[in-house]
């Protein structure tokens, strides 16, 4: 900026020459300079005022916005979130039908290491190896010496182990709280419950997730906070399940079987009261699935809901049921049982020759393959397949277990006439014991198709589910009672409970094709009390052999039937089932029907 002098020499000289006062020029210049300065100052002041106004506007605007947000939002208590009650009920309990606990949660501690905080790494490794037998000292030391700053060592500790780790006094070993799943009854109902694992895990908590069984199927329900920790109620009865498992384990040992399965179902509703598969496992430490060998030999294999077996003569009742429903035969119709029955290169034989003719009732009671096959031919392949489908034999069991949904029964690829004949007595179609129990319940409860379920519910099948008439169902119950009274399953009789049922012995298929001569699956499907069945029990033994006689006996009547009888003897009183008086006889006077 060019600074103008107050007294410019040129103008003063001219003014002097004219005789004017040069001071006026100076005053003029001074005034002009002053005006300029005022103008600049006003501009700056205006700018400052604007800035100030904007600042205040912004500040009050912020306050106003915040206030309106606070006024519009719901009141919230910030402390609630910190309450520790959230952690306790993270996963709901599982209880049996009477409320006894089958699975619950327990606080435990996880152990992790932070090697960079460690004082004495070799001592820590040695100490841990002493506390936990499955940890290796050199391996631990190698992990501690690495670059990692965080290492999980144990997912859950017992209180004793926790104290022992504390006593090591190593600052680099830290304990974190977390919940774990506890199955207080140990092996009981292991296949139903499944097992658990940890999902996302942090230092302060870990997610417990179901890895199999109902824990897996109902994982979302069990973890849903909206349920408020309401327990999952199963249809299982703890004491009945325990008795079934115990008797079945004893029976399996006595009969030298390598595996066994049992399903106990309410005939009217399809609710499963007990279901077991042996050998079993402890869900607290669920074993890993086998990587080699036959998966069905693993304890985690559920023979009751996952194992498909040819269930043998237990199927005959379905063939006869359908034939009677269609009006093809009556209970006393004589069936030609002259054997062997040849069909192409196939020959169908009976266990023993039962003479040229048997009544329909005796075909069931004596278990004649030839008789059943002849009835099946009358029915025809299409109608047979449709009826078996209505009983659920052609689809996976709709029960809430993950493995059951994946298990499709094995059915004949082409349902030819010979398939019709073999399927009629339970060969050529493999299904699970749970399928069988469901079908028996549907057939004997008056002919209403039941849906098997593991959940306690009041759902009952209605007329829409009818597959057989009431009358047919009643006659079939008589047949089944006849089998136990004087047929192939006399060993299954239990005084007071009028057991009815049907045996089934099927040769085990070889992996290479064909069948073993000396390995069978013995199955007994029982109903009790036979005149008004409340329960259906299916017992299946894998490779049973009764060696008490002169030669080994493998038929189901000698193996599965007595085991089933012992189970019924033990569980019927537990289920509050009163013994009934002898049929026809006097018995105890005035005993009411079972409650």
């Amino acid at each position: 900026m060019i600074r103008r002098p107050l007294r410019p020499l040129a103008r003063i000289m001219t003014a002097r020459a004219r005789g004017e006062n040069p001071d006026r020029i100076e005053a003029e210049a001074r005034a002009a300079r002053m005006r300029q300065r005022h103008k600049a100052e006003r501009l700056r002041a205006e700018y400052r005022l604007l800035l100030l106004a904007a600042t205040f506007l912004l500040a009050f605007g912020t306050v106003a916005t915040r206030m309106s947000v606070l006024a519009a939002s719901d009141p919230q208590e910030p402390r609630v979130a910190s309450a520790a009650s959230q952690i306790v009920a993270q996963r709901a309990d599982i209880v049996d039908r009477n409320g006894a606990i089958l699975a619950t949660n327990m606080m435990t501690a996880s152990l992790y290491a932070q090697p960079h905080l460690m004082v004495d790494k070799p001592a820590a490794a040695a100490g841990l190896a002493r506390i936990f037998e499955d940890l290796d000292e050199t391996d631990l030391l190698r992990r501690f010496s690495g670059k990692r700053k965080f290492i999980w060592i144990k997912r859950s500790l017992s209180p004793e182990q926790r104290q022992a780790v504390h006593d090591l006094g190593e600052p680099g070993l830290q304990l974190g709280p977390r919940e774990m799943r506890l199955y207080p009854n140990g092996r009981l109902a292991a296949h139903i419950l499944g097992g658990y694992g940890f999902g996302r895990e942090g230092v302060h908590a870990a997610e417990v997730i179901g890895s199999a069984g109902v824990e897996f199927t109902f994982d979302r329900y069990l973890r849903d906070p909206a349920e408020g920790g309401a327990p999952l109620e199963l249809s299982i009865d703890l004491s009945v399940q325990a008795a079934v498992e115990r008797v079945l384990a004893g029976g399996m040992r006595l009969m030298n079987a390598k595996g066994a399965a049992a399903v106990l179902m309410e005939a009217d509703t399809g609710q499963i009261i007990a279901m077991t598969s042996l050998p079993d496992f402890d869900p607290n430490q669920r074993p890993k699935p086998p990587v080699s060998g036959d998966p069905s030999d693993s304890p985690i294999f559920n023979r009751a809901a996952q194992g498909v077996y040819e269930l043998g003569s237990t199927f005959k009742i379905f063939t006869v049921a359908q034939a009677m429903e269609l009006g093809l035969v009556g209970p006393d119709t004589m069936i030609d049982t002259k054997g062997p029955l040849t069909w192409g290169r196939f020959r169908i034989r009976d266990f023993r020759d039962y003479g040229p003719r048997l009544s329909t009732r005796d075909v069931i009671v004596k278990s004649s393959n030839i008789g059943t096959a002849r009835i099946a031919v009358e029915i025809g392949a299409e109608r047979q397949a449709a009826f078996l489908r209505s009983l659920g034999f052609l689809d996976p069991v709709p029960v809430t277990l993950p493995e059951a949904g994946k298990t499709k029964p094995l059915v004949p690829k082409r349902w030819s006439e010979i398939s019709t004949m073999t399927v009629s007595y339970g060969h050529g179609l493999a299904a699970t014991p749970l399928h069988l129990a469901t079908a028996y319940a549907s057939v004997v409860n008056g002919g209403l198709r039941v849906t098997p379920t593991l959940l306690k519910s009041d759902r009952r099948p209605g007329e829409a589910d009818r597959i057989l008439s009431e009358g047919t169902s009643r006659i079939l119950r008589g047949f089944l009672r006849g089998v136990v009274e004087g047929g192939t399953a006399t060993l299954a009789d239990v005084e007071g409970y009028r057991v009815g049922g049907k045996t089934g012995t099927a040769d085990k298929p070889r992996h290479t094709g064909g069948y073993y001569d000396d390995k069978v699956i013995g199955t007994f499907a029982a109903i009790f009390p036979a005149n008004e069945p409340k329960y259906v029990l299916v017992v299946s033994l894998d490779e049973p052999e009764d060696r008490t006689g002169r030669e080994p006996r493998r038929t189901a009547g000698w193996t599965a039937a007595p085991v089933a009888a012992e189970i019924i003897r033990r569980i019927a009183p537990l289920m509050n089932l009163r013994p009934l008086p002898k049929e026809g006889g006097e018995g105890i006077s005035a005993v009411h029907a079972a409650n």
Partner: protein, 113 residues
């Protein structure tokens, strides 16, 4: 008069300030208490869950069976069978007359010996 109004207004301000102060502290105290109770409830819940688990563990069928066998000489517990059911019709009604009851009892005892 005006002095009196000023004075009373001043007193009122002090009184309200005191009251507000007290309420504020009472609220904070109550909130602390609620927090404490919540924590206590959480701890109790945890303890109940643990006790339930322990109860279930101690009552597991395996253990009860072992105990029933170990103390058989005192408890004489057996698996329940059909024979254990009785019928109300088989139980004799006590006679109306108490003296008769003694006679019936004697008769029953005599019969059983």
């Amino acid at each position: 008069m005006r002095t009196l109004i000023y004075l009373s207004a001043g007193m009122a301000v002090i009184a309200f300030a005191f009251w507000a102060y007290q309420v504020n502290y009472a609220t904070q105290e109550a909130m602390r208490e609620v927090d404490d109770l919540r924590r206590q409830i959480a701890l109790e819940r945890e303890a109940i869950a643990m006790l339930n688990a322990e109860w279930a563990y101690l009552n597991r069928p395996d253990r009860l069976r072992v105990l029933a066998e170990a103390y058989f000489d005192q408890l004489q517990l057996m698996p329940m069978t059909a024979d254990h059911f009785g019928d109300p019709a088989l139980v004799a009604y006590p006679p109306e007359d108490p003296q008769m009851a003694d006679a019936v009892l004697q008769a029953v005892l005599g019969a059983s010996q």
